[in-house]
Structures are given as structure tokens and as C-alpha cells.
């Protein structure tokens, strides 16, 4: 059984101007010890997905329907008190900006110990020992001194390490990382990604990595979900998504990334148009207005997910047209359908 199971999740923000469907029918499952990447552009609903799992949505957002099961236990409909026992303990989250997620008026030791005391039966002294141990684990030098420092005394990379230490202090089953390296420089990003992978192997947790960077996905993820305008375009193993993309949006995304390796000056192939206005969602596929190969049906009806490989689903009418998809999960050993 998978560790986390999300079924047909719908999350909306009810603004004065109307309902914004931030997550619009998302399903996925996450196995133990896997790294799942959720990739998408701004407004694709990837962060809202994370907030929905932890139920830390801000007003006026709420889960409209769907189910989120952790170890088979339903989370949707749980009270705030019950969720508090899960947050930070079973599922932790780290955010994009480590400065705003650390309290500037407490030392980092204080904040780490608080997180430990809240979820474990350790006493004050053991909590401090654990805090030092955690800081050492995330590669912070002289942790005994550092616990007495404040967030502003640390660099961006250091702060993100502290955030990771805090998130992992109670040995959660799942770590959600919401664009953890977007605010950092590439050399620091490399350090943090390396650290996350090492810790994941050591502690055996699962990671949900939310990012807009296909490079980060390629580097650390086993499985990938590609989101656009609140819906899933395509999901599957990283290799399937990168080498056999079966959705026009994923293909467009790959084409628009500048390649480091080609010597010749090639022209990028961008995706035309502008992102969809979430307040005025089209009735069909949300990507259809920007899709080069959009068909009449794409504008009329939203495609549902079909299997295109044993570990690969895609929601694109093109696959239906090309007769390149399965109603049910194909048996083991079935080839990935060919990219036409």
C-alpha cells in the first residue's frame, strides 16, 4: 500500500471576483522512500497541492472535495487539532524563503527545540541534544554555537539547512519541499539538493519536491507530476516524462528550455500565448488555447487521464486520436506507447 494517496483533489479559493479553482482534480500516490516531483509554472496549483495535504490553506481557500489518505487514514475532514499532530510529525514542509519561515525574535536553537518538544516525549535537555545533532546532520559547522544564533545572522543556504533540520527533527514520513532552492544561488542549490538526497537515503522518508525547474526534477526525482492550471497533464516515472513526454504541454516545456550542450545557435521553441486566467477557465483542456496541435474536442471537453505506459498517465486528446493509450493499467512488460 502506498504511503500517501491523493484522490481527485479539488481546492478552490473563493475570492470576491469568483471561485479560483487552484487544484482541479488531482490524483497521485507516493510510495515509501520515493522522491516525487511536482513541476509546473506559477499558478499551476503545485504549492496549493502541498498546502492542501497539510491543510494549511489561507482564507479564502479550502478543499472542496477529494480524499487524502496517509497510511490509509483519511486526512480530509480532520479537525485542526488532529492535523496539528500530523504536521511537523508525520508530514513536514520547508518553504521557498527560509528567512520568512524562521522567527527573527528567537534563536534557531529555541525554534528547533520547540518543534522537538511539541511532537516527542523528550525533555528540555534531550531536546537540546537532539537540536545539536540535527544541525550537525544538515552540515552546519559548530552546531553548539549556532543554536544560540538568530536567523538573520545566517546566510540563505544556512537558513535553508536549519529549516531542513527543523522539518526532519521528528523523523517525518514525508517531507514536502516547496521550491526549497528557488531563492538560492546555483552553487548553494547544489549543496542543498545533495543534502536532501543524502538525508532521504539515511532516514528513508519520502519527499515531495515542488519546483518549476526541470533541471532540479531531473536531478533528484523518481516520479514526476506535470501540472498546468490546477490540473494534471501527465504523471509517471522521471525517465518516462523526460524521454517519452505524452502531453503537448510537457513537450512544449522541454522544447523551451535552453540547452547547455549544443554548440550551434539554435532557436528556442516557446509555447505561444499567455497563461490562462484561473477565474475564466475554459471548458475544455486548460492548455488548449496555447497548444499548437489543439483539436476541436480539446476546446470542448476536458480530457481525462489515460494510461500510456505501465507507470505513465497522460491527459491529452492527442493520445486518444492517435490510438496511443490504454483504458486500464497495462500489464507488466508492456512497452511504452510510441511518441508519434
Amino acid at each position: 500500500m502506498s504511503m500517501l494517496e491523493v484522490r481527485d483533489l479539488h481546492t478552490s479559493f473563493f475570492t470576491p471576483s469568483g471561485e479560483v479553482k487552484a487544484v482541479n482534480g488531482l490524483s497521485f500516490s507516493l510510495d515509501k522512500g520515493k522522491v516525487l516531483g511536482i513541476v509546473g509554472e506559477s499558478g499551476s496549483g503545485k504549492s496549493v497541492t502541498a498546502y492542501s495535504i497539510l491543510q494549511i490553506l489561507t482564507n479564502p481557500g479550502r478543499i472542496v472535495s477529494g480524499s487524502i489518505k496517509l497510511h490509509g487514514e483519511e486526512l480530509v475532514g480532520k479537525s485542526n487539532d488532529e492535523m496539528r499532530k500530523i504536521r511537523g510529525n508525520k508530514i513536514s514542509i520547508i518553504f521557498q524563503d527560509p528567512m520568512t519561515s524562521l522567527n527573527p525574535t528567537f534563536t534557531i536553537g529555541n525554534q528547533l527545540e520547540e518543534a522537538i518538544l511539541l511532537h516527542t516525549s523528550r525533555n528540555k535537555k534531550q531536546a537540546e541534544e537532539r537540536a545539536v545533532e540535527m544541525l550537525r546532520l544538515v552540515g552546519i559547522s559548530e552546531p553548539e554555537k549556532r543554536i544560540h544564533q538568530y536567523a538573520y545572522e545566517l546566510s540563505g543556504g544556512m537558513r535553508q539547512r536549519v529549516m531542513i533540520a527543523m522539518a526532519l527533527a521528528c523523523e517525518p514520513d514525508i517531507l514536502i519541499a516547496d521550491e526549497p532552492t528557488t531563492a538560492l544561488d546555483v552553487t548553494i542549490q547544489a549543496q542543498i539538493l545533495e543534502l536532501m538526497l543524502a538525508l532521504q537515503k539515511e532516514m528513508g522518508m519520502s519527499i515531495i519536491m515542488i519546483t518549476h525547474d526541470m533541471g532540479v526534477i531531473a536531478q533528484i526525482c523518481d516520479e514526476v507530476i506535470v501540472m498546468y492550471a490546477g490540473g494534471v497533464c501527465e504523471r509517471g516515472t522521471a525517465d518516462a516524462i523526460f524521454y517519452h513526454p505524452m502531453h503537448e504541454y510537457t513537450r512544449g516545456l522541454m522544447r523551451s528550455i535552453p540547452q547547455m550542450n549544443d554548440d550551434e545557435k539554435t532557436r528556442l521553441v516557446p509555447i505561444a500565448g499567455t497563461p490562462i486566467d484561473l477565474l475564466h477557465m475554459p471548458s475544455g483542456c486548460p492548455f488548449a488555447p496555447r497548444c499548437d496541435r489543439a483539436m476541436k474536442i480539446c476546446l470542448k471537453e476536458k480530457p481525462r487521464e489515460y494510461w500510456v505506459g505501465r507507470d505513465h498517465l497522460s491527459a491529452c486528446w492527442m493520445n486518444v486520436k492517435n490510438n496511443a493509450c490504454y483504458e486500464e493499467r497495462p500489464a507488466e512488460g508492456t512497452m511504452e506507447v510510441e511518441d508519434p
Binding site: 489543439a294 483539436m295 489515460y306
Partner: protein, 349 residues
């Protein structure tokens, strides 16, 4: 199973759907799906939000109604605020004096004293209306002073920054620490002779107290506006559009006029709207202490003060001006907070 069969089986859908639907969509069809929201300027957007706020709109109507009464009614009202009638002292609302009753008996029409009369037999309604007029004038005038001086001072201080800003802000700090009531008292004593000798009838009619109140507003009350505008300018200065304008080669005057002031509008409107009731309150308070308008000119504060002597016998003489102050200040405050909600970009959806 042949290759063809396998394909059909894995996708039974293809047989049920009209193949015409799988034709490529044209650009026009795609474009139809994209709607751009209706164009709204910031001002219009704010006004739309203000209109949706019922409390603010009711307050605005009340203010407009009061202003209409205060400025229009005296032009055709049969009584004046100075005319005394010894035979009609301290009448209750809609009560007629013996002389007036005799007139009515003769078949002549007499305009009723809607709010009665005061101790000198003056019609109370027109005095309250005049008092309201003074209050509104004080409010609007002080808001104007505050807007002009506050914006100029604040934007210069914020734009040039550094030493200029430091000195200008220390001056503001000093002004903040001056007791305004004390200055009004001192000023009214100091300028008494000048005011009574003044050839301008307006200044003479307003009296030393009122003139010094205006002077004090001009001297002291713009500081909070200046501070807020400066703060706003400081944050706008960091915006890249100001840098872009500099890179183009625009002059400081153009940058302040085109980029900074328009982006301060919300702060200016909110503070000005909040300034009006506090000025009205100060004026009423000072008039109540006898520092405001000079007799016979009434002010809501001085009316209330005069009414204290006959409070037990004629309570309505206190109730009418008090109610008027209450209505004006409450409406302006509610409108002010409505404006703040409408203009504060942080609350924008």
C-alpha cells in the same frame, strides 16, 4: 491477437467519438477561449469597491445631506442667526411666542422654530445650521492645508533623503511635541488686536480664536500626512519603475509628479478623510472652552457650551448641537475607514 485489434481494445473511446472533433482547431477558435478581464483603472476599481460598502455609502449620503442643509438652507431661511427676539426666549421646538401666536391669529403665516429658540430668543435651528457650516468649513479647510503642506513636505523629504530628510524629519518631530491647545490659546491672545483691527470682514467675523485655530492647523496638523507621504515615497523610490525613469533621463520633478504622487494617492485620500473629523472635533472642543468663534457667530461647540447653563430646563439646546457633531464626526470616520478599505491595495482581490 493482431496489432490492430490490440489498439482498438486499449482505446474503445475512439469508436464512440465523432471523428470531426479530432480535426485541428483554428486559431480563432483557440482565441475565443481566452478572455481578458474588463479594463479597470486603479481609481475606478477603488470606487467600485467603495460603492459596494453600504456603511460608507450611507455615511457619504449623510455628509452630503448635512452639507446641503448647511450651505443652502440659510439662503432662504426666514430667520438669521443674529436676530434676537426678547419675547421669544427659550421656546421649545415648534412652540410659538405670544407675539407670534397673535400673528397667526391675525391670519399671517409664521415659520415655526423647528428647534425652538435660545436664551436671547434667536432661532435655534439656524444657529445649529450655522454651527454645522463652521464645523464643515474647518474640516475641509484643515484637510486642504494638510494635503498641500503634507504632500510637499513629505515628498521632498522622502525623495531627496539623506541629510535633507534627516533635518526635515527632526523638524516634524519638534512640531509633534508642541501642545496644540496651548498654542491656540497663546495665539488667540497674541493676535486679538490685529484681528479686531483687521479690515477684512471675514477675519473680523471669525474672531481671533477661529483665526488662530486655522493657523494652528496650518502649522501643526500636516505632520502626520508628511510622515505618511514620506514613508510611501521612500518605498516607491525603491521600485524599479523609478529607476527606469531615471535611466530614461527624467528630471526629479517629473519623477515626483508622474511616478511618486500618483502612487501616494490612496494614502493621501485616507489621511485627508481621517483628518476632517479630528479637525472638526478639535474646533468643537476649543469652541466649547470659549476659544473658538467669536459671538454672535455660533459654532457647535459654543452652542453646546451655552446650553450647559439651562441644561435641566432646556435639554434640547444641548442635544441638537451634540447630535450634529456626533453625526458629522461619525459619518466622516465611517467614510474614512471605507476609503481605507477601498484604496488599500493589500486587500485587493
Amino acid at each position: 491477437m493482431s496489432e490492430e485489434n490490440k489498439k482498438l481494445k486499449k482505446n474503445p473511446f475512439s469508436l464512440q467519438v465523432d471523428p470531426a472533433l479530432f480535426e485541428a482547431a483554428s486559431d480563432e477558435e483557440k482565441a475565443q477561449q481566452v478572455t481578458m478581464r474588463e479594463s479597470v483603472s486603479f481609481m475606478r476599481d477603488a470606487m467600485r469597491r467603495l460603492r459596494k460598502n453600504h456603511i460608507a455609502m450611507i455615511s457619504l449620503c449623510v455628509i452630503l445631506l448635512i452639507a446641503l442643509i448647511a450651505f443652502v438652507v440659510p439662503t432662504f431661511y426666514p430667520y438669521t442667526y443674529t436676530k434676537q427676539d426678547v419675547s421669544a426666549q427659550n421656546l421649545a421646538p415648534f412652540q410659538y411666542s405670544a407675539k407670534e401666536q397673535a400673528k397667526i391669529a391675525r391670519g399671517q403665516s409664521v415659520f415655526p422654530h423647528i428647534m425652538g429658540t435660545d436664551a436671547l430668543g434667536r432661532d435655534y435651528a439656524i444657529r445649529v445650521i450655522y454651527g454645522t457650516r463652521i464645523s464643515l468649513l474647518v474640516g475641509i479647510f484643515s484637510a486642504l492645508i494638510v494635503i498641500v503642506i503634507g504632500i510637499l513636505y513629505g515628498s521632498i523629504s522622502g525623495y531627496f533623503g539623506g541629510k535633507v530628510d534627516m533635518i526635515m524629519m527632526r523638524i516634524v518631530d519638534i512640531i509633534y511635541s508642541l501642545p496644540d491647545v496651548l498654542i491656540v490659546i497663546l495665539l488667540s491672545v497674541a493676535i486679538k488686536d490685529w484681528v479686531s483691527a483687521s479690515k477684512s470682514t471675514l477675519i473680523a467675523r471669525l474672531g481671533a480664536g477661529m483665526v488662530s485655530i486655522f493657523i494652528v492647523f496650518g502649522l501643526l496638523y500636516w505632520v502626520s500626512m508628511a510622515r505618511q507621504v514620506r514613508g510611501q515615497i521612500l518605498s516607491i523610490k525603491e521600485q524599479e519603475y523609478v529607476l527606469a525613469s531615471k535611466a530614461i533621463g527624467a528630471s526629479p520633478a517629473r519623477i515626483i509628479r508622474k511616478h511618486m504622487i500618483p502612487n501616494c494617492v490612496s494614502v493621501i485620500i485616507i489621511i485627508a478623510a481621517m483628518q476632517i473629523p479630528s479637525a472638526i472635533f478639535t474646533e468643537s472642543f476649543l469652541s466649547f472652552l470659549g476659544l473658538g468663534v467669536s459671538i454672535p457667530m455660533p459654532s457647535l461647540g459654543s452652542l453646546a457650551s451655552d446650553a450647559r447653563t439651562g441644561l435641566r430646563s432646556y435639554p434640547y439646546q444641548l442635544i441638537f448641537p451634540a447630535l450634529s457633531i456626533f453625526l458629522i464626526v461619525l459619518s466622516f470616520n465611517l467614510l474614512g475607514s471605507g476609503l481605507r478599505d477601498a484604496f488599500d491595495p493589500k486587500l485587493r482581490a
